[in-house]
């Protein structure tokens, strides 16, 4: 859809300044792009390539390695219902059928209004609390079909917007590193030296 907005560009530049090599900033920048649109558009990848000095193909190669980066528009809420052994035994399939009926989309699909994307997931490491699901990677445990209905009602009504931000937003409070703590651009010859602010107290 779009390149980074001016506001995000400022953040991007701050992120880049933390690293001795610009391209090391690529993963946090991909998150920023995903936060902006909910997914990572081609234009955004081109833009990130320009910002850190790599080709779009390199950005694409890096980004597609990671499952949690999305390259197609996605719902505001990504509902991942676990379908692996423990959850399956505890009713995950019924939960999925229920969700499909409630949202009117098959697993993998996105609702017309762009609110929900429903997806199968592999074990989410909460097997003791089966069946479980995640909404934008926030857990809901021992979920019954009634719980699921309530969850969707709440999400639709915006009641959970404090706890569960839109897809792509990692955390509501952005990490901030004071400029003088950033390593900043370092010429390749000096990259293995410790940053100045460490004052020789510790090695890199």
């Amino acid at each position: 859809m779009s390149r980074l907005t001016d506001k995000n560009l400022v953040i991007a530049k701050e992120i880049i300044a933390r690293y001795p090599r610009q391209k090391s900033a690529l993963i946090p920048l991909l998150h920023l792009a995903q936060e902006q649109s909910g997914y990572i558009s081609r234009e955004a990848m081109v833009h990130l390539g320009e910002l850190v000095g790599v080709t779009s193909a390199e950005v694409y190669g890096t980004a597609t390695f990671y499952e949690m980066f999305r390259f197609e528009p996605i719902g505001k809420y990504l509902v991942n219902i676990c379908g692996t052994m423990s959850c399956a035994l505890m009713g995950a399939h019924e939960l999925m059928h229920h969700a499909e009926k409630r949202l009117g989309v098959k697993a993998g699909g996105t609702t017309q209004d762009g609110m929900f994307t429903l997806a199968h997931a592999e074990c989410q490491a909460a097997c003791t609390e089966a069946p479980c699901l995640q909404v934008n990677y926030r857990y809901r445990l021992r979920v019954s079909t009634a719980d699921l209905d309530n969850l969707i009602d709440d999400l639709e009504a915006g009641k959970l917007s404090e706890e569960i931000p839109a897809h792509g937003v990692l955390a509501k409070v952005r990490q901030h590193i004071a400029p003088d703590r950033g390593v900043g651009a370092v010429s390749p010859e000096l990259v293995d030296q410790a940053p100045a602010w460490l004052n020789g107290k510790a090695a890199l």
Binding site: R42, T55, A57
Partner: protein, 791 residues
């Protein structure tokens, strides 16, 4: 490294030698060398897919497993990632190793489509060969294989079949490490991993053909060769590319007397196995149906086919008539595209006829005097601590030299100090890139070399100047003045001359260059324009298309009574010639060529010349006979011998008629010096833009336009200016504008380009759609143009 025989007495112990044993045989290796590389010097072959000696090791395929003895017993290691160590005991064929090799191959083949019968690689495929030699013979994999869309075009030239890909990382590594064009990348993960470009952004690298050559399977194929031949009905011979003066070593392959493919040959001093795409694929032009196949002679209805005897007779008559008004009324232009022997035969003929006006450069090179400065080879250049670039954009004009210089900078062997009128392909790798406005280079060079930082760098060791003509829209003296400044500051600098045409160095050495105070190509054309030339002999040259000053050359051709052309195609200059003699093309003749560093190596005939084409040297001897002159040679061997004994530079290859592989360097003696001169700067008024005109890899060169796979890649004409200047003119990027000088102007699109400096404009030469030459005037020092909106 000196390899010493350990059994010999009085061994000199080299501190870099490491003793290991491979399969119980002692092997001498170099410190830091990989086991696989050491084993490659023995008879014990270690199978491999991803390892490539010219690229870094990545250990992707695991096919090269060997056993190394450790205190805890034998251990399996990947031999392409493990360096040798003193006393190391390596075994490459134990049962365990064999089992591992079979296992890896079974896995590699699990998803492989095994469509060898319809695969271009079949018959020369490392996967096929090693599955046969090191594979299990059977597969336990019964599941459905992975499927992808059969080949997808990832560029105009290269196709990718992802089903066949074994993910060895060779192509992607090459694109990134060697070419510096990481436009292909591994994408996705695990079972979905695949090589891809960014969506809709093609793999448009000048070096893409190398990935096809080094892909160990048939995943990457090239359009010009797809389904054209099978390895077992290919015949081949080793030769040297003459498309530019780098002189890459190649094998020329043909099937049923048609060229089908060129592959790079790895030689240390020049191309390391790499080729550029133009050199690799413009063989298609040799097969072109537009080739001249019989002599042509002027008739009432244009050029008409005739016999060799009639054509030679009339050519001789024309020359004789012209010579009657004095030797100065005949001139020879060209000769840099053929072999040394071709050029020598023509130079000898010219000598005998007293023709002194000859030039193998067409006013776009530099004076041959630069060959008399202390010379550097490509290897010496890439080992120098400082490489000064005062040259055209190597990536565009001498592509494989670009790869070598880039490699030297990337591996931090050399630092590049670049002087350039616009950003070049090497600018991103330069230690310092200093820009100049055309005409001001001498001043800029002087000031730069005076700074302390640069002086310290210069003192670190050898300095080599890569010297050529960066801009066709300026007088050649500016480059020489800048060179004078460099020599003033660094008297012991060496020079690597980079002139563009394939065999320009050889042609100059044998005498196809202005003789005895007679002028160069531009003088010849100026004389012709004044009606003082009666006969122009074009040796594979096309001045009407190639000389920057189109007005001058048009006037010259108008006033010249007769034109005799020796060429492979009809072109703009010989369309109205009196006689056109069809020449044998590359791969249709044998001989030697000389590259930019003066390396003499052989070019070899692989196919029968089309029609009745003959090599240039033979045309010269026969034309000589028609003129009553006997050049005294009846075979190529005799001619070669005569050349090596007559021309001192070639004495190094006497008694060595076939100069294989590495070739031999010509004898060169540093006899010239160049000194500082005072330069008059030409001021530019602030409303005009100083023009930089230079060539790019794909232009309207005949060998490109007649190669079907390349013709589509030729760029459309446009002028490039700095984005800030574009804003100042107030026109939108990509729209048409008028570029004018005095009373002449052309209309073409303008593009913003941040690699063009403010106040200058870059006009690539010889692109399609608009001829930019009306703006060029050879007599002015620099060209300042106006850029205006269309109304």
């Amino acid at each position: 490294m000196t390899i010493v025989d350990p059994t010999a007495e009085n061994i000199v112990v080299d501190p870099n030698v490491v003793n290991i044993t491979i399969n119980d045989k002692p092997v001498l290796a170099r410190k830091g060398e990989l086991i696989i590389a050491a084993a490659d010097r023995t008879d014990d072959f270690i199978p491999r897919f991803c390892y490539h000696p010219r690229m870094s090791s990545v250990g992707m395929c695991r096919q090269c497993l060997v056993e190394v003895e450790t205190p805890r017993g034998p251990m399996m290691v990947v031999s392409c990632m493990t360096p040798v160590a003193e006393g190391q005991i390596v075994r490459t064929a134990t049962d365990t190793v064999k089992k591992a090799q079979e296992g890896v191959l079974e896995l590699l083949l699990a998803n492989h489509p095994l469509d060898c019968p319809v695969c271009d690689k079949g018959g020369e495929c490392p996967l096929q060969d090693q599955a046969f030699s090191h594979g299990p013979g059977e597969s336990r994999f019964v599941e459905e294989k992975r499927h992808y869309e059969k080949p997808i075009a990832i560029s105009e030239i290269v196709y990718l079949d992802r089903e066949r890909c074994i993910l060895c990382d060779r192509c992607t590594r090459f694109a990134d490490e060697v070419a510096g064009d990481p436009l292909i990348s591994f994408t996705s993960r695990g079972n979905d991993t695949q090589v891809l470009t960014f969506p809709d952004e093609p793999f448009s690298s000048y070096f893409s053909g190398n990935t096809v050559q080094i892909c160990p399977v048939g995943a990457l194929t090239a359009k010009p060769y797809r389904f054209k031949a099978r390895p077992w009905d290919i015949e081949q011979t080793e030769s040297t590319c003459t498309s530019c003066s780098v002189g890459c070593r190649i094998v020329v392959q043909s099937s049923r007397d048609e060229l089908v493919r060129f592959q790079g040959v790895d030689i240390d001093p020049v191309n390391w196995g790499w080729l550029c795409d133009r050199g690799r694929y413009n063989f298609e032009s040799v097969n072109s149906t537009e080739r001249l196949i019989a002599p042509l002679i002027k008739s009432d209805s244009g050029l008409a086919t005739t016999s060799w005897s009639i054509a030679l007779e009339s050519a001789a008559r024309i020359i004789r008539t012209a010579l009657a008004s004095g030797a100065d009324s005949v001139a020879i232009l060209g000769g840099a595209r053929g072999t040394n022997e071709d050029a020598f035969a023509w130079a000898s003929l010219a000598d005998q006829l007293g023709i002194t006006q000859r030039d193998s450069q067409l006013g776009d090179g530099l004076t041959p005097e630069i060959f008399n400065l202390e010379q550097a080879t490509i290897d010496q250049t890439c080992a120098a601590s400082t490489i000064i670039l005062l040259s055209p954009d190597l990536k565009e004009e001498l592509p494989v030299l670009y790869l070598r210089v880039r490699d030297a900078a990337q591996k931090r062997k050399s630092r590049i100090l670049e002087f350039t009128p616009r950003d070049s392909g090497l600018t991103p790798y330069a230690w310092r890139s200093v820009s100049f406005e055309p005409g001001r280079q001498a001043q800029v060079v002087r000031e730069t070399l005076e700074t302390q930082e640069i002086q310290e760098q210069i003192r670190r060791g050898e300095v080599v100047v890569v010297l050529g003509r960066a801009n066709l829209a300026e007088n050649e003296s500016f480059t020489l003045h800048a060179l004078g400044e460099i020599f003033h500051a660094i008297p012991n600098a060496k020079v690597l001359p980079v002139l563009r045409r394939g065999n320009v160095r050889g042609a100059v050495a044998v005498g196809l260059t202005p003789q005895k105070n007679s002028g160069d190509a531009i003088d010849i054309l100026t004389k012709a324009a004044a009606g003082k030339i009666e006969c122009l002999i074009l040796l594979g040259s096309d001045p009407l298309a190639d000389v920057a000053d189109s007005d001058l050359v048009a006037r010259a051709f108008n006033r010249t009574r007769s034109v005799i052309s020796i060429d492979t195609f009809i072109n703009s200059s010989n369309r109205n010639a009196d006689v056109v003699l069809p020449a044998a093309a590359f791969a249709e003749k044998t001989g030697t060529t000389t590259n930019l560093e003066g390396r003499i190596s052989n070019v070899t005939q692989q196919i029968t010349p089309r029609g009745t084409c003959r090599p240039d040297w033979m045309i010269a001897t026969e034309l000589g006979l028609s003129l009553g002159i006997d050049l005294g040679v009846s075979s190529l061997d005799e001619l070669h011998q005569k050349m090596t004994s007559n021309i001192p530079e070639f004495s190094s290859c006497a008694n060595n008629p076939i100069i294989n592989s590495d070739g031999v360097l010509m004898v060169s003696e540093a006899s010239a010096t160049i000194s500082r001169a005072s330069v008059v700067l030409v001021d530019r008024n602030s409303y005009s833009y100083r023009l930089i005109v230079s060539r790019t890899m794909y232009d309207n060169a005949q060998s490109t336009t007649t190669s079907p796979s390349l013709v589509g890649i030729i760029t459309k004409s446009a002028i490039y200016v700095n984005p800030l200047d574009l804003a100042r003119i107030g026109v939108v990027d990509g729209t048409n504008i008028r570029v004018g000088i005095a009373d002449k102007s052309i209309v073409l699109p303008v593009n913003a380009h941040s690699g063009v400096y403010r106040g200058t404009a870059w006009l690539p030469y010889n692109h399609t759609t608009v001829d930019v030459r009306p703006l060029l005037d050879i007599t002015s020092d620099v060209v300042d143009v106006r850029i205006e909106q269309l109304h």
